[in-house]
Structures are given as structure tokens and as C-alpha cells.
């Protein structure tokens, strides 16, 4: 492998690259799904390849191939240079990288139990036990369980002298019950929509207690069929932590991506309302809102040793006491705000360039003694919403609308009536400005979001968000005509 990488790097430099990096990535993924008591699928996938990224005449070029042979390594380096020259012809100013010093070293996800070593029978047993528990509830139409684990080995070298080896292991699982009747479909998931995925070994799957939650999930799916429609109006809203994680993702994580802010994603994902003039000026949320991007958080899907430009993992404040104080950056964009990259350049695989992605963008928990129950007890009239079902936000990340799987009305400090098809909508800074209570660290969970789409060609990123349940005052709930 070392020879292959050096061949590519040498060829890049012979082709005129002022800067070049080479990434070799091998990813193995295995998955299981169980549906209605039977094994629906069991699969193993392996993909490997090499990508060469370089700067020639101030423009980027990138080429990648799955053929890991010396002659191909040289070909993609030459092709990347040809592409870079075409880029340079349509540039106003040359690309300049920050002064991040080249790093050498290795990193491995801490793993107690190798998920690849756990038997298929045992994994299947966990999912089938959950399926059986869901199956005991009359009225459930579809029962599903899924489990996934992966290992990614990455080599990164650069013409500046970086030389890094990393091994990232992910594991996770989830269950879902669907109930159907005339005109209605209701779904409940555990522990969140699509399951929970973390960087860890199989110990993380064992800790989920899928079977222990299966019957409740199934009962709630059936109960939702006959629950009243969520009312419409302005009300106090308490969000469960996995829904709040997605709220953070869409309304904070994306708009703080500096490439979006600078217009580099305008033709696809959009831009951002968090323009440069708002850094250190904008009150993004209330004074109890503190949000950090922490690539060192244990278990996060955005946790690593170095990003895909060789920048070390860091914990960086984004929103401090409600004030916008930081962005997610890479080596190309950080100099635009007078900073060095904070290490958010990530590629979804060997065939994609690193772009600015979230790491683990999380809301700090509230006071130690505060729980979800305390938030509810402290709310005279409102609604508590749990588990994401639908999400949408405008191109500047201002106008959002979410749907959740379930909601409960709150009356006089108590969770009362279950309601179906709940939705809520708002404008990002007004919403975060209305946050007046956050539950404490005991309710804080770092949720995996493995389906973050960005970039052209599309890259599906794996990121995480930590959150405790929180309360937001006077939010528009129950959108549309039902």
C-alpha cells in the first residue's frame, strides 16, 4: 500500500501539483434486517479505492479509482492534474490552504467487542426477540428490526508530509412497528427513527435493550391509529432528545458550515443565514443555549483522530450563551475568517473529496438536577413530541418544519392525551431564542445521524448530535389541513 500511495503522490507532483494528498480507504459493512419474524436480509459489502486530490495553478482536481494498482495510481494522479488545469481556467483567485502543520500518527475507535466477531445467530437472536415482543401486540401490521456494523481503514498522506492511519468502527441497531388502517399509517421506532448508530463495538448494540422496548413501541403504533389529530396553534413545546438532535442538525449544523456560508453549496444544498458579518454578533439562541462541535466525543459518528485533510480532531464552541461564535471549517475556508481549520473536512468514501461536514454538533445539557419530567411538570399547557418522522428546511436554514411520530398534550404539568401526526414549524433564531429550559446530563444522548446528504456528487455523511430534552415557548404546532 505504501508503494501505491507514494506512486500516486510522486505522479501528482510530476504533473505539476503545488499540493497533493492521497487517500486509500477500505470499508467493510455488514447488515441484518428482520421483518415480521423472518430474516429479511443479511449482507456483507466491501469497497476500497484510492483518491488523489491536488492543486495545480490554484485550482482543485480530484480523481479516484477502485483499481488499486500502480499504473492506475499514476493515471488518476495525471487525470486529477488535467482536471485541476480545467478548474484553474475558470477561477478568479487561486485556492490557498491554511498553515495546519502536517501530522503523523494513527487512531482507532475504542472497541470492547469486535462486532465482526459476534456470531450471526446471536445478532439474529437480538432482533428476533424484539420482533416477537412486537408481534404480541394485536394490530401491528409490519415489524422490522435492523442491525449494522462497519469498519473503515484509511491511509492519508500529503505532499506536505502528513502520514496518517485510522480505523473507524461503527455499530448500531433499531426496531420499528407499523400499524395501518383505512387512511392511516402510524409508525413507532426505537431508539430513534432508523435506529441508533455510534462509533463503538458490539457493546453499543447490547446496551440498546431493543427487546425491552419492543412491546411499548408496538402498542404506541397501534394506539396512534385511533388517537386524535394533533391540534393546531401556538403552544409551549418540549422535544425529546433524538428529535432535538435532528433540529440541531438542520437548523444549526448545516448553517454553520462555512462552505455554505461562502456560497460554495448554493446550487444544491443552499446557503446560510449565518453570514460572516454575524460571527460574534448574532444572538442565535437564548442565553442557556450552548452548542459545540466536538470531534473527540466518545461514540460520535463525527469522532476521529484527524479529518480527511489531516487536521486533528477538536472541540470547538459554535454557540456560546446564545451568541454565534464559530463555524465548521476546512483548510480552504478557515483563512477567510482569519482562523485555522477546526477539522471538519470529511469525505464519505474513497471516491469523494473531503467537504465541510458536521462532526458531533451538540447542545450542552442543562442543570444537573433537571430532568424531562421536571420540564413537563413545569409546563402548564403544551405538547411533548417524540421521535422524528419528517423534516424540511429552506435553503438558508431559516424556515423549518418537522413531523414526529408521536405527541402528548401537557396539561397542568402532566403528560396527558396521545395525539397523532404532530408537526411544528418555525424560524431558526426565533425558535432557539425561545428555548427556556434544557434537561440535565442524565437525559443527554449522543444520537447518530448517518444519512446527512450534501455535495455534488452527493455524499452521505455520518454525524452525531448530543442533546437533552428541551422546552421552547410559543411554537406553531399542527401545520396544514388534516
Amino acid at each position: 500500500m505504501k508503494d501505491l500511495v507514494n506512486r500516486a503522490l510522486d505522479a501528482a507532483q510530476r504533473a505539476g501539483a503545488a499540493y497533493a494528498d492521497v487517500r486509500v480507504v477500505e470499508r467493510e459493512t455488514e447488515s441484518l434486517t428482520v421483518k415480521n419474524g423472518a430474516l429479511e436480509s443479511a449482507a456483507a459489502h466491501r469497497t476500497a479505492g484510492m483518491g488523489v486530490r491536488l492543486l495545480v495553478d490554484g485550482g482543485w482536481g480530484f480523481s479516484a479509482s477502485s483499481l488499486l494498482e500502480p499504473i492506475e495510481a499514476e493515471r488518476i494522479a495525471r487525470e486529477a492534474a488535467e482536471i485541476a488545469r480545467a478548474s484553474a481556467g475558470a477561477r478568479r483567485e487561486p485556492i490557498v490552504l491554511d498553515g495546519t502543520p502536517p501530522a503523523q500518527g494513527s487512531y482507532r475507535t475504542p472497541v470492547r467487542e469486535d462486532p465482526f466477531a459476534v456470531s450471526l445467530d446471536e445478532k439474529l437472536g437480538i432482533l428476533l426477540a424484539s420482533d416477537e415482543a412486537m408481534g404480541r401486540v394485536p394490530g401491528v401490521t409490519v415489524r422490522e428490526g435492523s442491525m449494522e456494523w462497519s469498519r473503515e481503514r484509511k491511509t492519508f498522506v500529503s505532499s506536505e508530509g502528513a502520514n496518517l492511519e485510522q480505523e473507524i468502527v461503527e455499530a448500531g441497531a433499531g426496531i420499528e412497528a407499523t400499524a395501518v388502517d383505512e387512511g392511516e399509517v402510524q409508525v413507532r421506532s426505537f431508539p430513534q427513527m432508523g435506529g441508533q448508530l455510534v462509533t463503538a463495538g458490539f457493546e453499543a448494540v447490547r446496551a440498546l435493550d431493543l427487546a425491552g422496548n419492543a412491546q411499548r413501541v408496538a402498542e404506541e403504533a397501534v394506539a396512534l391509529l385511533t388517537a386524535p389529530q394533533c391540534p393546531s396553534g401556538e403552544m409551549d413545546l418540549i422535544l425529546e432528545s433524538s428529535q432535538l438532535a435532528l433540529q440541531i442538525h438542520e437548523s444549526c449544523g448545516h448553517p454553520i458550515e462555512l462552505d455554505r456560508v461562502l456560497g460554495m453549496e448554493a446550487s444544491f444544498a443552499g446557503t446560510s443565514f449565518l453570514t460572516l458579518d454575524r460571527l460574534d454578533q448574532l444572538q442565535y439562541g437564548s442565553s442557556i443555549v450552548h452548542i459545540d462541535a466536538d470531534a473527540t466525543a466518545p461514540g460520535g459518528l463525527g469522532t476521529f483522530g484527524w479529518d480527511d485533510e489531516g487536521v486533528p480532531a477538536q472541540d470547538v464552541p459554535i454557540v456560546s450563551a446564545g451568541l454565534l461564535v464559530g463555524y465548521l471549517t476546512n483548510r480552504e475556508t478557515a483563512p477567510r475568517i482569519g482562523r485555522q481549520s477546526m477539522g471538519s473536512a470529511r469525505a464519505s468514501g474513497w471516491d469523494r473529496i473531503p467537504i465541510i461536514r458536521m462532526t458531533n454538533v451538540s447542545l450542552r445539557p442543562g442543570p444537573e438536577a433537571t430532568s424531562l419530567d421536571d420540564l413537563i411538570a413545569d409546563t402548564r399547557e403544551g405538547i411533548y413530541l417524540e421521535t422524528n418522522r419528517s423534516w424540511s428546511i429552506d435553503d438558508r436554514r431559516l424556515n423549518f418544519q418537522f413531523g414526529t411520530q408521536a405527541g402528548w398534550l401537557i396539561r397542568d404539568g402532566r403528560r396527558t392525551q396521545l395525539v397523532r401526526n404532530p408537526t411544528y414549524t418555525g424560524i431558526t433564531p426565533r425558535f432557539w431564542g425561545s428555548c427556556d429550559a434544557i434537561a440535565g446530563p442524565r437525559d443527554w444522548v449522543l444520537w447518530g445521524v448517518p444519512n446527512c446528504g450534501k455535495g455534488e456528487p452527493m455524499q452521505t455523511g455520518h454525524v452525531s448530535h448530543g442533546a437533552s430534552p428541551a422546552r421552547f415557548r410559543k411554537v406553531q404546532v399542527g401545520v396544514g389541513r388534516w
Binding site: A43, S66, E79, I83, R91, I355, G403
Partner: protein, 456 residues
């Protein structure tokens, strides 16, 4: 296998035969995919990302006595293929038996088809893509605007072989140029062209269309949300059809009671015809599916009545019918997908549709669409890159983006006019292509508005 052979059907067939030889017992399916992608991306009127990649992979699905194992690899030498087969065997032989397992596709085979392929697209180089990007950028700069966008080209070869004797393969190409042109005052315009032949994509024309739309949006003002008449451009219509395809047109969704598409029932207005046809050169052809079945035309909605679902072998087996050629790669818990969609146009010109609006909204496109309620096909999303208030058939002014929350079947039951021209639109997030007309709809629900300046 040398790199130059990756789109050679004979090479692919030999490789798949070798995979099947390695399987000692049971039924086996092997799928070969070779994909060359390239994309030139521009923003702030300069190229900022420019990439190319080549990948080839083989996926094997092995079944025996109701047990199934799937493995894939992109290491295609003898050792790599052996490893994939051994892994799939190991999974299969340890897997639990599923009595619902369907047999592999039995044919007929499809001899190699290149009807959706052009060498010009397969051979497109970075200079060609940069020239088109430059044409868009020049159009924007000449108007005092900034251009962003992406120009992609792709060559794909897929071959499928199985132990039931099926042998199918096809090669296709696709090219797509899109641009968002923006001004400092919130002006924003969009244009897109999708075609199997890169030679038919005109950068200057895309630039001109996006610039024209952006210039018209200068000085947009608020409009209160509510129910309005709408004129939806083909870009917007395509986005709605893309999403109802995911949630409604699949036989699996119907079998599980999740779809609004109950066969024989009137689900839309009598002027609505929607179908899927992977062979039609008016779309982005994709000839066979990932199970090797040749794609059939499926009439999904005919004169407003639900008349068909798309099937893969699993849903077809369950329904006692034949696959329509809409299978995804195994394992596939999502079910079949209608990928090559068409909506029939009508008789009206664009101006006639506009003239039919008493007070309503002209929508260029939708952004970030998502499903609010699957069975009722309620979607939400934002308007983008050209939204206008129309009164008495005339454009009054541009308006800021609005959020819609609307049942698509309900809206498509209120279509008053369809344009005589249709346009091929490549979906924003998926690989789906939709040829759609513009629609005049009497009643479309807008439930929110974007903030003028954001914070505040």
C-alpha cells in the same frame, strides 16, 4: 481486467460466469456494475470543485432452501471474487430460513443494449465541462449576477447473470447541467438540462434561462401563506412526482397498506396520466433492473384512476404476477422503485396556463421536499429560485419563498390545465428522472413563509 474493458459486455459476462462457477450449490445471482462519473462544480462564478471517479463492483445473492446471503466487492480479481462468494455462502448457510423468499428472476434475458448510451457523454472531458460552466458563468456575470451550478456526466454498464439462465446487460449514459444564478438583493433563478447525450446540453441556454428567472425575482416581497391557485413549472411537478413515487407507486408500499394507490380507485383528476417507462428515449433510459429484468412500461395513474404498481421479483412473487423490472440491488428492504417517470401533457401553452390564474402563485421549483403523511401523500417543502404572484393572468411581482404542506393526490385532483410541452427533469436528491408538463392547479396549500432577513 484492464480499465478499458470495464464497459465491454463480453468481459462483464465472462466475469459473472466465473462468479457463478464459484458457487457450489443453490441458486445464485451475480450483478456487475461499472460506473464512471465526473462532475465540475462552480460557485461564486468560478469552478471550485472538479472530480472524476471510476468504480466496478460485483454483488452476489445466493439462495438455498429459503436462506439468502448477499455480498458485494469492488475487488474483481480471482481472490476478490472468491472472497465475496465465500462470504455470501457463509451468510446464507448460517441464515434463518425465510418462507417468503422469492425465486430469482427467470427471464427472459436481454441481450446487451446500448440505446441509452452516447460516446460523447462517456468520453466527455474536463475541458468540455469547464466550457459549459464558463458559458453559464459568462451569462450571469454579463447580467451583474453570480452563477453556481454543476455539470455531471456518467457512463454506466450493468450486467446480471443467474443460475436460472438469465443473462442481461445494458449500458447507459447521462449528463446533467444545473445552475442557480443569484444577485445580492435576494434574486435567484434556476435552470437544468438532463439528457443521455451531453452534446444536447447547451450551457449558454441554461445560463440564459437561469439569468432571466433571477432578473425577474429582484425585489421579492412577502405574501401571506394560504391556499392559492398555482402554476407549477415542470421542475416543481417533477419533485412532487419523485416523492409520491417513493411512497405510493411501489407494490411493496401497496402490499403493506402504506400507499394511497389502491388499484381501481380514482386517486387524481381525470386529466392525469402518469406512467413509468425505462425504455422511452424521451426520458433517461435505464433498460434493465438490478435483477436483470427488462423494464416494462407501467401505467400507474390512468385518467385519474390508480392502474398499476411497479414490481420486483419479491413483490411480484407475493402478488402472483411478474416483475415489471423495477428491482433495486439485493438485499432490498425498500421494495421496487419507479425510476423513469412520465406525466402526460395537455393542450395549453404556458401563456394560456398563466392567463387562467385569477390570483395565484407561479412556482419555478421546490426545495427540500419531504413526506409529512405517506398514506395521504402529504408533502412539505419550500418554493425556490423564482416564485411570483400572478393576478388576472399577469405576473404582478416576485415573492419570497413559501412553504407548502399539501396532499399531492388532492392537488392533482384539481388540475385545471396542463402544458402541451413537457420537460425532462433530473431529480434533486435521487437518480429519478421525470418528464413532466407545467400544471395549473386550483388550490394548493402554503403554510409558511421564509423570513425576510432571517434573524429578528
Amino acid at each position: 481486467m484492464v480499465t478499458a474493458d470495464r464497459h465491454d459486455p463480453a468481459v462483464a459476462a465472462a466475469l459473472l460466469d466465473r462468479v457463478l462457477e464459484l458457487v457450489p450449490n443453490g441458486e445464485a445471482e451475480a450483478v456487475y456494475t461499472a460506473r464512471d462519473e465526473a462532475l465540475t462544480r462552480f460557485a461564486n462564478s468560478q469552478i471550485h470543485q472538479n472530480v472524476a471517479d471510476r468504480d466496478r463492483s460485483v454483488r452476489v445473492r445466493l439462495t438455498r432452501d429459503g436462506r439468502t446471503g448477499v455480498a458485494s466487492t469492488n475487488r474483481l480479481d480471482e481472490a476478490g471474487l472468491r472472497a465475496a462468494v465465500e462470504q455470501a455462502l457463509a451468510i446464507r448457510d448460517r441464515a434463518a430460513r425465510n418462507p417468503d423468499t422469492s425465486p430469482l428472476a427467470g427471464g427472459p434475458s436481454t441481450a446487451h443494449v446500448r440505446s441509452g448510451w452516447t460516446d460523447r457523454t462517456a468520453d466527455a472531458d474536463p475541458a468540455l465541462r469547464a466550457a459549459a460552466a464558463r458559458a453559464v458563468i459568462d451569462a450571469a456575470l454579463a447580467a451583474g449576477l453570480e452563477a453556481s451550478g454543476a455539470f455531471s456526466t456518467e457512463a454506466l454498464t450493468m450486467a446480471v447473470a443467474n443460475t436460472r439462465g438469465l443473462r442481461s446487460s445494458a449500458s447507459t449514459t447521462a449528463a446533467k447541467l444545473l445552475s442557480v444564478v443569484m444577485g445580492t438583493d435576494g434574486a435567484s433563478g434556476y435552470a437544468q438540462a438532463t439528457d443521455p447525450d451531453v452534446g444536447r446540453i447547451d450551457g449558454a441556454a441554461i445560463g440564459a434561462e437561469a439569468v432571466d428567472r433571477a432578473q425577474r425575482t429582484t425585489g421579492a416581497e412577502d405574501l401571506a401563506p394560504g391556499e392559492y391557485q398555482v402554476l407549477l413549472e415542470p421542475y416543481a411537478v417533477a419533485a412532487l412526482i419523485e416523492y409520491i413515487s417513493f411512497i405510493g407507486f411501489s407494490a411493496l408500499a401497496a402490499q403493506e397498506g402504506r400507499s394511497f394507490m389502491e388499484l381501481g380507485r380514482t386517486v387524481m383528476g381525470s386529466n392525469v396520466r402518469i406512467w413509468d417507462d425505462g425504455q422511452d428515449p424521451g426520458g433517461l433510459p435505464s433498460i434493465i433492473d438490478f435483477e436483470g429484468v427488462r423494464k416494462q412500461r407501467v401505467d400507474l395513474v390512468t385518467d385519474g384512476v390508480a392502474t398499476g404498481h411497479v414490481h420486483d421479483t419479491a413483490t411480484a412473487h407475493r402478488a402472483g404476477t411478474a416483475s415489471t423490472g423495477h428491482g433495486l440491488p439485493a438485499p432490498n428492504p425498500w421494495g421496487p422503485v419507479a425510476w423513469n417517470l412520465f406525466m402526460a401533457g395537455g393542450r395549453a401553452s404556458h401563456d394560456e396556463l398563466l392567463a387562467g390564474i385569477d390570483r395565484g402563485i407561479w412556482v419555478t421549483r421546490f426545495h427540500y421536499v419531504n413526506v409529512v403523511h405517506a398514506k395521504r401523500a402529504i408533502l412539505t417543502g419550500m418554493t425556490k429560485d423564482g416564485t411570483f404572484l400572478v393576478e388576472k393572468g399577469r405576473i404582478v411581482r416576485p415573492i419570497r419563498n413559501l412553504r407548502f404542506t399539501q396532499s399531492v393526490p388532492e392537488a392533482f385532483s384539481r388540475i385545471r390545465g396542463l402544458s402541451d410541452e413537457t420537460r425532462l427533469v433530473g431529480a434533486e436528491y435521487s437518480g429519478i428522472a421525470v418528464r413532466a408538463p407545467a400544471l395549473l392547479i386550483d388550490g394548493f396549500g402554503f403554510t409558511g413563509a421564509t423570513a425576510a432577513e432571517g434573524p429578528g
